[in-house]
């Protein structure tokens, strides 16, 4: 009788498909995964400790570096948290600009998701096409904030710059070309039978498990749970826009891809509405230069980032620096289900599962 033995294979932290510094210790039986242990911390920068030694406005650029693929979203969450503490009302125009930027970030992040999924499955060309289109969003960011990737554009009380004149035509032309881009991804990536065969029925997460493990964002909606913070707990001015929540049914990798593909279209819908209603006016509320929230005030504020529920919990002690700042990072919590959904699947599937859970290590390791 043939004797077999389990062995351990280390996927990462130096591995082409681990999206940064993820380390998965996989216990394997041949090509099958018996168990996997996720090791984090390769991108740990102790952001929460840094926050305690920075003033409230000074911490803004650090939040951009959490989820660097959609850098407007964590910044938005932080600024809104501090505004909630101070009771600052943000000018209308700034709110609209924030929504536009946040949704463009979401599209950029999802585009990179589709592209990196394609390259993780071996289709290099898909990545390049997604990058090509994402570049146009980066140009929009550069136009407004001056930075492409890590914009640190939001400020406590508003945004740092007004939209330039060139922004709206460029944004409209992007929206105009958007259906063509989606069509191309549908043809090259989503419609491909090899890719479908590799994603369908793989990494299945049912709804109860997902909630139990605190999975949020597109990953939760792929399980068929209609839960989006923009809808259930609207922040900013999200209650003014009409958009649908794309839902999956099975919660497998394929659903996670489809939900994100459809979410991009919904984001475009929100941007269209916001651009139409964009009012004139101030872009920044009057905020004192030295921000000192009341002693003992504490706020938990959450937004729907492109990865899920991004929450900030800030405790103030009356000084100009936060006493305690905690980031509830969606990638961190979402990654917890990786061992559960990949159990019993193949080595190639865990790569696809990592890709479809869409973790950003800058955020999960903080």
């Amino acid at each position: 009788m043939l004797q077999t033995e389990q062995y351990i294979i280390n996927i990462g932290p130096q591995h082409p498909s681990t999206h940064g510094g993820l380390h998965v210790e996989a216990v394997m039986d041949g090509e099958h995964i018996v168990d996997s242990i996720v090791h984090l911390g390769y991108v740990h920068r102790s952001v929460e400790k840094i926050a305690e030694s920075r003033t409230y406005p000074q911490f803004v650029p650090y939040t951009s570096r959490l989820d660097y693929l959609a850098s407007h979203l964590p910044t938005l969450g932080y600024c809104q948290t501090v505004e909630k503490m101070l009771g600052v009302a943000v000018p209308e125009r700034a709110e609209y600009i924030r929504v536009i930027m946040a949704e463009f970030s979401r599209i950029a992040s999802h585009m990179l998701f589709v592209g990196s999924l394609a390259i993780d499955l071996g289709a290099t060309t898909g990545l390049i096409y997604c990058f090509r289109d994402r570049e146009r969003i980066m140009d929009l960011f550069e136009m407004t904030s001056g930075q492409r990737l890590i914009a640190s554009y939001m400020r406590i009380g508003g945004v740092s710059h007004d939209l330039p004149d060139t922004f709206i035509p460029a944004a409209l032309s992007f929206i105009n070309d958007f259906p063509k881009m989606i069509e191309e991804y549908e043809g090259l990536i989503v419609g491909n039978e090899i890719l479908q065969a590799r994603l369908k029925g793989i990494g299945v997460l049912n709804a109860e498990e997902a909630i139990e493990y605190g999975v949020t964002g597109p990953n939760l909606r792929a399980c068929g749970v209609e839960y989006d913070i923009r809808k259930v707990d609207p922040y900013g001015i999200y209650d003014r826009f009409e958009f649908d929540l794309p839902l999956g049914s099975k919660g497998d990798s394929w659903d996670r891809l489809l939900v994100r593909m459809q979410e991009m279209a919904q984001s475009v819908r929100i941007i269209e509405q916001a651009l139409q209603e964009l009012p004139e006016g101030e872009i920044k509320a009057k905020v004192p230069r030295i921000i000192k929230p009341e002693k003992g005030s504490e706020v938990y504020h959450r937004i729907e980032s492109s990865k899920g529920e991004l929450g900030y919990y800030i405790v103030a002690d009356g000084g100009e620096k936060p006493y305690r700042l905690h980031v509830r990072a969606p990638s961190f919590v979402n990654l917890m289900v990786l061992p559960i959904i990949s159990r019993g699947e193949k080595l190639q599937d865990i790569i696809a599962n990592i890709a479809t859970l869409d973790p950003v290590l800058g955020e999960s390791d903080r």
Binding site: R54, P57, Q58, F59, V60, P61, Y62, S64, R65, T125, Y129, R132, D139, E142, M143, T144, S145, G146, Q147, I150, S152, R155, S160, H161, P164, E184, G187, L188, I189, G191, N192, E193, I194, Q196
Partner: protein, 244 residues
């Protein structure tokens, strides 16, 4: 039908095979940068009022400066200004904090250096400029609490200007090349301009006045001077090998 998606993908890649490329050939062809692009952080010492707001705004202690108090005044004299770019996050907070527009980002994004120390940008404030500042009376540089001071009277203004011009004349006489280096583009041009001004006292005074009153005009005149001199030299068959 199975395989239709495969063919569709093949058709898409085939179509792109014959399309024009979308990349740019970087070192030869520079990328198009938006107006607000944040490249390298720059410091314009002439505008600095040594208020220290930038260092307070910076999250990462990138900025630091040395100053010394001016006697009998609340004002401070800037000695040097350091931007330690290796810690810079390009977050724009210092630029937003600066009340006079002293700090700004230019479009230079090629910031790599071979040595760690070279990343640091140190602005030693030129002695000529310091000479201007260290005039005992009102200095042209605005000070920390300038907004609190009453607006200067017109004749006072005139006197102040004359003082500035005098200071500039001194500076031009002492170290002409450095003083005019901001007016022209290259060092060679500055050298020529300095020579001209050294030779002709009248021109020197005129130039100093213009530099205080209207910088742009001064720059134009300076360029005209240099070009004329170059032409003259060429006609003499002499140094025709000047740049440009």
């Amino acid at each position: 039908m199975k395989g239709k998606g495969l063919l569709e993908g093949l058709w898409i890649t085939l179509r792109h095979l014959f399309e024009r490329e979308i990349t740019i050939q970087y070192p030869e062809q520079m990328p198009y940068l938006q107006e607000r692009f944040r490249g390298c952080l720059q410091f314009d010492y002439k505008k600095c009022i040594v208020c220290g707001l930038c260092t307070k705004a910076c999250p990462n202690n990138v900025l630091s400066y040395e100053s010394q108090p001016v006697p009998n005044s609340k004002k401070k004299l800037l000695l040097s200004y350091t931007i330690d770019l290796q810690y810079c996050m390009f977050c724009n907070l210092c630029v937003e904090a600066c009340p006079t527009g002293t700090l700004y980002f230019n479009h230079d994004f090629e910031l790599s250096e071979y040595q760690r120390d070279d990343i640091k940008i140190v602005y030693e404030i030129p002695r000529s400029a310091q000479a201007v500042i260290s005039e005992p009376a009102d200095s042209p540089i605005e000070m920390v609490d300038s907004s609190a001071e009453p607006a200067p009277q017109p004749d006072e203004d005139e006197a102040k200007k004359q003082k500035q011009i005098n200071a500039m004349i001194t500076a031009l006489k002492k170290n002409p090349v450095k003083a005019v280096s901001k007016l022209v583009e290259s060092e060679a041009q500055a050298q020529i301009l300095a020579d001209i001004l050294q030779a002709d006292e009248k021109k020197l005074v005129r130039m100093a006045t213009m530099m205080i009153e209207d910088r742009e005009k001064a720059g134009k005149v300076a360029l005209a001077f240099v070009n004329k001199e170059l032409k003259d030299r060429q006609q003499e068959g002499g140094a025709g090998n000047e740049p440009e």
